[in-house]
Every structure is written in structure tokens, then in C-alpha cells.
């Protein structure tokens, strides 16, 4: 064990300092307000049956600043949602995305609003990225009328039609066939747009995913399946010294502790998200699972917003020409699977704080901004303060928003035109005609 700890530390020290590499590779052009920058991603892409995109990502100071702001906003929003949940203003399910913001923000940077995104239930930040407002988010979470789904959807059902955001789905994996259907419609209408269908490593074992992938490959649909792999179990794999393929992505060597290996075997049973990955998937190389469908894996870089942007840009071009592609984003979530999961029974606080220190997406961008002199420490702190205030204001406004009217119980069951009578539970008192 001592040996593995040593080796881990060695690996760890290399990996947890990606910025050194990044900083070294930076171009030394003078920076004006919107000059382009080229920044190298910390780790190269790993490709399966396709060519990997280049490590050098083109960006600009204003883009980096916007990344910082957007991710800070998302982070603050999720943390605020956490407190609201604990204050019992949000009930039921609440799946938080903090730690994974880079995926949402990087993807947005690579595509347009006419491209479609569909994801599962961890959708608050993706919704925001697609043009949703904080008020809509908090009002929906609290079940108020001003929410994006008029309070009738809840945390897992955020949608934004004008933004091309198709939700927001509670059943694991069910959004992937929907996503392929969106891609089909895009191909049908010859839109030259693509669909990103996001799912998690848990959903990667759903049969309908492979069914949909098969059809997408057969019909050449512009669908990009993105696996947001926020596993923790790589540690186990590394320790147990299993096959190479698993080692490959287990380079996320987090701090090991022997005792924890034994106890982190599927203790938390929230929707299967607490089950060790290697116990759920025979082949956890999710990007390769498409086999005949090319896959691109971004090792570690799911936390690097520039790498995400590059991969998504590449994916869009690829999908429009060659059909479906799988992206695997190695990412991490700080919270547990949902609010009912403390997230600490299968991982230690040290691990979480370790990742937070070394791989946090916002910190990375902050360091980039500082090292390139795009913004000063104070500027960034101001942005964070602004963001905090925005979130607080939105929460206050959302709290004032009224609950939905009882008649809203019956609206939007059918699209207009039925005139059917619907009854309340006791069938006598509450009677409404479905509009």
C-alpha cells in the first residue's frame, strides 16, 4: 500500500498541476481587449476511431472573462439552491451541478442557440447556459408560477424552447432517444445544426442508449452523445490494479485510503448513483462503447472549459459530416448525487477538497485570467460579489412569486381544443374544463 501511495503521490503531483504546462505553452502576444489567445489544454484528447482535435484552443480575453462569470454564476446558484433546499423551500429531488460547470459553459461557447441540448435531471446550469434566467430557475425550484415550467415541472424538468434546451428528464437514459429524435428532425429539416444529448455514466448502461446510437449511426444523424462521467471510483480501479483500459482513465488519482476502498461499495443507493462504477459497467471506457461510432474522450478535461469547448466544436463539425459521435467528459461533482445523498459515504472530504483545489474549473479560469493579466484579483472578486448579489436578488424575487393558481392544475394537459371535463380527486367539488 505504501507503494501505491507513493506512486499515487507522484502521479498526483504531476496531474494536479496542469496549469504549469498550460502556462508554459501560452503565446506571448500582447493582450488587447479582444485579441485572440491560444491556450493549450492540460491533457491531450484521447480518441477512438477518429482523429483527436488539437490541444491548442483559440479563445479571447473577453471569452475567458465570460467563462469566469458564467461559471461563477452557476456555482453560486447551485450553492444557493443547496441552502434553499435545507431551508425546505425546495422539496423533492434536487440534483446539483457544481463542479461540472465547465461542461455547460464550454459547450455553449462552441455552439449556437439553434443547436439543441438535451440532458437528464442535473439541468439547472445547462438551462442557465441556454439563456434561462435566475428568476426562472429559483421560481421553478420553489414551485412558483414564474418558474420556467410554471412551477409544474420542478428541478428535473427545466425546458427552454427558444434556447434550444429540451430538458430536463427524470428517467435515466430516456433523454437519449429523444435527443436522437431531435437530431433526426434537424436532419429532416436540413438545418445544419446538431444535438448534444447528455447523459451520465449511470445512464451509459441503458439499452435504449445503444438502440438510439445504432439508429443514429444508421441514419447518419447529427447527434452527439455526451457522457458526463463524474465517477469517483477510479481510485478503486487504480488500487486494485485492474486492466490497462481502466488505469488509463484512472489517472485522476485522488487520495487513497485503504479503509475507504472497502466501504465505498455501493453504500448509498440513490438511483444507482452511489454504486461503484466498476460494479455497474463492465467496460467503463464510455467513449469506446459506441464501437462503430467514433468516440472522443477528454481525460481530466471535463473540468477544463477550454478543452470542452474544443471538443464540442470538433464534435459539431464531425457530426454534421460523419454522423454521431460520443464524447466522454471526465468531470466531478462536489455535492452528492442529489440532496438526499451527503456524498461523503463513498468518498472522503479530503478527496472532494483535493479536487476542488486542483481541478476546479473556476479556479483554472481565474488563474488563466490572472496570469494573462486580463483581470486583476480585485476585478474577479468584484465579479463574484456581483454574481452573489444577482443570485440573492433573484432568490428574493422568486420568493415573492406566487404559487400557481389551482386552475393551473388542469392547464397544459392537452394542447387547446378538447373541452374535456376533468375532476379533482373527490370528483365532485373541483371540476374544470380542460382548456
Amino acid at each position: 500500500m505504501a507503494l501505491s501511495r507513493l506512486s499515487h503521490r507522484a502521479i498526483g503531483s504531476n496531474l494536479f498541476k496542469p496549469f504549469a504546462a498550460a502556462a508554459a505553452a501560452v503565446s506571448s502576444r500582447p493582450i488587447s481587449s479582444d485579441a485572440s489567445l491560444t491556450i493549450e489544454t492540460s491533457v491531450p484528447f484521447t480518441a477512438h476511431n477518429c482523429d483527436a482535435p488539437s490541444r491548442s484552443v483559440a479563445t479571447s480575453p473577453s471569452e475567458l472573462l465570460s467563462f469566469f462569470r458564467d461559471m461563477a454564476l452557476m456555482r453560486r446558484m447551485e450553492i444557493a439552491a443547496d441552502s434553499l433546499y435545507k431551508a425546505k423551500l425546495i422539496r423533492g429531488f434536487c440534483h446539483l451541478y457544481d463542479g461540472q460547470e465547465a461542461v455547460a459553459v464550454g459547450m455553449e461557447a462552441a455552439i449556437t442557440r439553434r443547436d439543441c441540448i438535451i440532458t437528464a435531471y442535473r439541468d439547472h446550469c445547462t438551462f442557465l447556459g441556454r439563456g434561462g434566467t435566475l428568476l426562472e430557475v429559483f421560481a421553478e425550484l420553489m414551485g412558483r408560477r414564474d418558474g420556467c415550467s410554471k412551477g409544474k415541472g420542478g428541478s428535473m424538468h427545466f425546458y427552454r424552447k427558444e434556447g434550444g434546451f429540451y430538458g430536463g428528464h427524470g428517467i435515466v437514459g430516456a433523454q437519449v432517444p429523444l435527443g436522437c429524435g431531435l437530431a433526426f428532425a434537424q436532419k429532416y429539416s436540413k438545418d445544419e445544426t446538431v444535438t448534444f444529448a447528455l447523459y451520465g455514466d449511470g445512464a451509459a448502461n441503458q439499452g435504449q442508449l445503444f438502440e438510439a446510437l445504432n439508429i443514429a449511426a444508421l441514419w447518419d444523424l447529427p447527434a452527439i452523445l455526451v457522457c458526463e462521467n463524474n465517477h469517483f471510483v477510479s481510485v478503486l480501479v487504480l488500487t486494485l490494479g485492474l486492466e490497462n483500459s481502466k488505469l488509463e482513465y484512472s489517472i485522476i488519482a485522488l487520495k487513497l485510503s485503504f479503509g475507504r476502498i472497502k466501504c465505498s461499495l455501493g453504500l448509498v443507493n440513490t438511483d444507482g448513483m452511489g454504486t461503484a462504477e466498476w460494479r455497474a459497467a463492465k467496460s467503463p471506457a464510455y467513449y469506446k462503447r459506441g464501437d462503430y461510432v467514433p468516440g472522443l474522450k477528454m481525460l481530466v478535461d471535463g473540468m477544463d472549459v477550454l478543452a470542452v469547448k474544443q471538443a464540442c466544436k470538433f464534435a459539431k463539425e464531425h457530426a454534421l459530416k460523419n454522423g454521431p459521435l460520443i464524447l466522454e467528459m471526465d468531470t466531478y461533482r462536489y455535492h452528492g448525487h442529489s440532496m438526499s445523498d451527503p456524498g461523503s459515504t463513498y468518498r472522503t472530504r479530503d478527496e472532494i477538497s483535493g479536487v476542488r483545489q486542483e481541478r476546479d474549473p473556476i479556479e483554472r479560469v481565474r488563474k488563466l485570467l490572472l496570469s494573462h493579466d486580463i483581470a486583476s484579483e480585485k476585478d474577479l472578486k468584484d465579479i463574484e460579489k456581483e454574481v452573489r448579489k444577482e443570485v440573492d436578488d433573484a432568490i428574493a424575487k422568486a420568493k415573492e412569486s406566487p404559487m400557481p393558481d389551482p386552475s393551473d392544475l388542469f392547464t397544459n394537459v392537452y394542447v387547446k381544443g378538447l373541452g374535456v371535463e376533468a375532476f379533482g380527486a373527490d370528483r365532485k367539488v373541483v371540476r374544470a374544463t380542460l382548456p
Binding site: 429540451y166 430516456a174 429523444l178 429524435g181 439499452g207 435504449q208 394537459v413 392537452y414 374535456v420
Partner: protein, 408 residues
């Protein structure tokens, strides 16, 4: 009545008995709901307002009750060339409806197993792939869950897919997609997304097809909020309902029946669209209201012949709309006859008949002179052996007995 089409005097689907027709002209006093829409050249036909013609045909003296009433080609019916319209089989009527809608709206596409190059396992989509191309008539692999999901995803963006289940029973694999995504997305998105999808396929008990291929899914789907269900039974209403379903903004599940595809009928040449929420008055009467749908309609009509000979006057309504029920038509009938018999092919437990019984009892209890009687299939998996299969489904003699008991 000028705008209404000739009564189609339902061509008998029975193999050897007299053809049935409704001999009476319809009572003009029957209350009509307003015609829902009227566009150029399209007539929305009131289902109960058909004028039937008294047709001369060879009378048969024997009254053989044939079980397993099912369609046969042609029949002894004399097709006079002076009658308007054209004759076709039910699957051809479905195809006509589908084809017309696909021509009219480029957003309509069909997806299903074997619908494209093969032409459809019941020939409903024959030649459509050659006409409209592979992108509009799509052959899918055997993956119901995902291609139904894909149809729903496509519908979210505005396409109007028609998803065919080769047999309704296979759609059980897509239950999650139908229930959660198809039925509920309009609601959970606060009205942002419409799902104008049509899911159709043949179901019901066939000819010794075995338990898994003889399922009646209308009972499983009926509680899903947000969907509409219709069941067609004649070529006329098959085409009309298919067109209405495609044009509807709501998700519609169209239930066809394996044994009814070869029914022949003469339908109008002009374009017509039926209303999805209306029931069809098949035979007006005074003594008892018989509510039925799909294949059981024919068993009921056969029983009705016997009943007429025995002096009863049953009113037969093909409810067509399984969700929501056309309580308007049904209610008027109940108020007139005060006795209700429901004949359905669903299982006893939790079937359409069970819900209909509840709905009628709740709404029209005061008008009932006798409890609602519901004849349904047995709560058993459909056996393979022919005789056993016959016994699982309601047969005309049972209907006759039930009416006699009800009318005592």
C-alpha cells in the same frame, strides 16, 4: 343533410349472414354538436348523421350466429356503380389517410419496423417509401423504446411523426417513453413543447396468435395524462381518424385491430376528417344502449340482428374515442334508453369498460334503470387453442343473453 355523405350501410363483415344495415333514417331531432372544423373541400362529418340507403339484397332466412365475426372480402353486397365514393379495404383506407396527410404536410413522417421497403407488415404503408423517400418513411431496427423516443424528440421540434408498432404489444417496451415523455412533456414544460405524434398499430385478439401477440393495450395506456386514444373500426372511420390524429396537436394513440384490416367499405371520394373525441351512432334504438369499439362492434351488430328478430331495439354506439370518452353522445343515449351494456375486448380488470362503467355511473346514475353491465374478455392470457381463444372473447350469443337479462 346535403353536405352529409351517403350512408355507408355498413357492409357486412360477417361471413355468412345477412348484411346488416340501419334501416331507419336518422331522427332529425337528435342533438348535434357543432361541426368542429370546415375547410375548403374538407367536410367534417358528424358521425351519427349518415343517411343509409335501403338496399335491395338477397334476404337470407337462416339466422346463423357466427362466432369470431371478422372481415371477409367483398360480401354479397351489390356495389352499384352509380354510388359515389370508392370501395376499399381498411388498411387501404389507413394508407389513403396517411398518404393524403403526408402530401399535405411535409412534416409528416412515418417510422416503424418494416414500414419502408417492405411496405408495412399489414401493408398500411405500402409504396409510401417509394413515393416519399427514405427520410419520410423510415425503417427502424427492432428497438421500440428508442424509436418511439426518437419520434417524440422529433415531435418536440415540430415534426409530426407517425410511429407504427408492428403489434401494439411491442409498444410495452416503449411504455416509459409514451407515458413520461409523450404524455407529460407538454405539462412539465409548462406548455412549451407540443408533441403532435401519432402512435398506431394493430392490437387485439387475432387468430390464434398466442398470448403475447394478442394484447389490448388500451387498458394500460388509458391513465396516462396528456394523450388521446382512439380506436377505428371501419374503413370510413379509419381514414378519418388517421387524418384527425395526424392533424391533432396532442399525442394520439390510434388502436387498430389485427382482424379488421380486410374490411371492405365504400368511402367518399372527397376529403374528410373525423373528430377525435366523438362517438359514432351505429344503430339508433330505444331499449338499451350498447357501447362498444373496434372489433366488438361487429359482434354486437351480429347480436343486434338476433335481438331485432326477438323484438328488441338496441341502440349501438361505437365509442371510437377511448380517451376522453364522448360522454355527450353516450349520455344522451343513456337518457333515452336507461339501460347500458358495454361490450369490449379488454380484460375485465381495469379495462376501458371498467372506466366507462365508472364514468356512466357517476354522471348518469339517475337515468339508469338497471346497473351497467359490462361484457369483457376474461382476465387470462389469450390461449393458443382455437376453442379456448373463442371463449376468452365476448361472443354474440353472450351479448344477446346480456341484453335479454338487462331488459327484463
Amino acid at each position: 343533410m346535403a353536405t352529409l355523405f351517403q350512408g355507408l350501410g355498413l357492409v357486412t363483415p360477417l361471413s355468412s349472414s345477412n348484411s346488416f344495415e340501419s334501416n331507419k333514417l336518422l331522427h332529425p331531432s337528435r342533438t348535434c354538436r357543432s361541426i368542429s372544423e370546415r375547410k375548403d373541400g374538407i367536410f367534417v362529418v358528424r358521425s351519427d348523421a349518415r343517411v343509409s340507403q335501403l338496399l335491395k339484397r338477397r334476404a337470407r332466412t337462416h339466422d346463423l350466429l357466427v362466432t369470431n365475426a371478422v372481415a371477409t372480402q367483398g360480401g354479397s353486397f351489390v356495389a352499384s356503380t352509380s354510388k359515389p365514393g370508392h370501395e376499399l379495404l381498411l388498411f387501404e383506407a389507413l394508407r389513403e389517410g396517411l398518404e393524403e396527410e403526408m402530401e399535405r404536410d411535409p412534416c409528416v413522417c412515418v417510422m416503424g419496423e418494416d414500414v419502408g421497403h417492405y411496405g408495412g407488415s399489414y401493408k398500411v404503408t405500402k409504396d409510401l417509401a417509394t413515393k416519399f423517400g427514405d427520410l419520410r418513411v423510415l425503417d427502424t431496427p427492432i428497438a421500440e423504446n428508442s424509436f418511439t423516443g426518437m419520434g417524440i424528440g422529433a415531435a418536440m421540434t415540430g415534426l409530426r411523426p407517425v410511429v407504427e408498432g408492428m403489434n401494439m404489444g411491442f409498444l410495452l417496451l416503449a411504455f416509459n417513453q409514451i407515458s413520461n415523455n409523450c404524455g407529460m412533456l407538454h405539462y412539465t414544460s409548462g406548455g412549451q413543447f407540443k408533441i403532435p405524434i401519432v402512435i398506431r398499430g394493430p392490437g387485439g385478439v387475432g387468430r390464434q396468435l398466442g398470448a403475447e401477440h394478442s394484447q389490448r393495450l388500451e387498458s394500460y395506456f388509458q391513465s396516462i395524462p396528456g394523450i388521446q386514444m382512439v380506436a377505428c373500426s371501419t374503413p370510413y372511420n379509419a381514414k378519418g381518424l388517421m387524418k384527425a390524429a395526424i392533424r391533432s396537436e396532442n399525442p394520439v394513440i390510434l388502436f387498430e385491430h389485427v382482424l379488421l384490416y380486410n374490411l371492405k367499405e365504400r368511402i367518399p371520394d372527397e376529403e374528410y376528417v373525423l373528430s377525435l373525441e366523438e362517438a359514432e351512432m351505429v344503430r339508433p334504438g330505444e331499449h338499451v344502449t350498447i357501447l362498444t369499439y373496434s372489433r366488438m362492434r361487429y359482434h354486437v351488430m351480429q347480436a343486434a340482428k338476433t335481438l331485432v328478430n326477438k323484438g328488441y331495439d338496441p341502440e349501438v354506439i361505437d365509442i371510437r374515442s377511448l380517451k376522453p370518452f364522448d360522454l355527450h353522445t353516450i349520455g344522451n343515449s343513456v337518457k333515452k334508453t336507461h339501460r347500458v351494456l358495454i361490450v369490449e375486448e379488454c380484460m375485465r380488470t381495469g379495462g376501458i369498460g371498467a372506466s366507462l362503467t365508472a364514468a356512466i355511473t357517476e354522471n348518469f346514475h339517475d337515468y339508469l334503470d338497471a346497473p351497467v353491465v359490462c361484457l369483457s374478455s376474461q382476465d387470462v392470457p389469450t390461449p393458443y387453442a382455437g376453442t379456448l381463444e373463442e371463449w376468452t372473447v365476448v361472443q354474440p350469443p353472450q351479448i344477446v343473453t346480456a341484453v335479454e337479462q338487462l331488459c327484463q
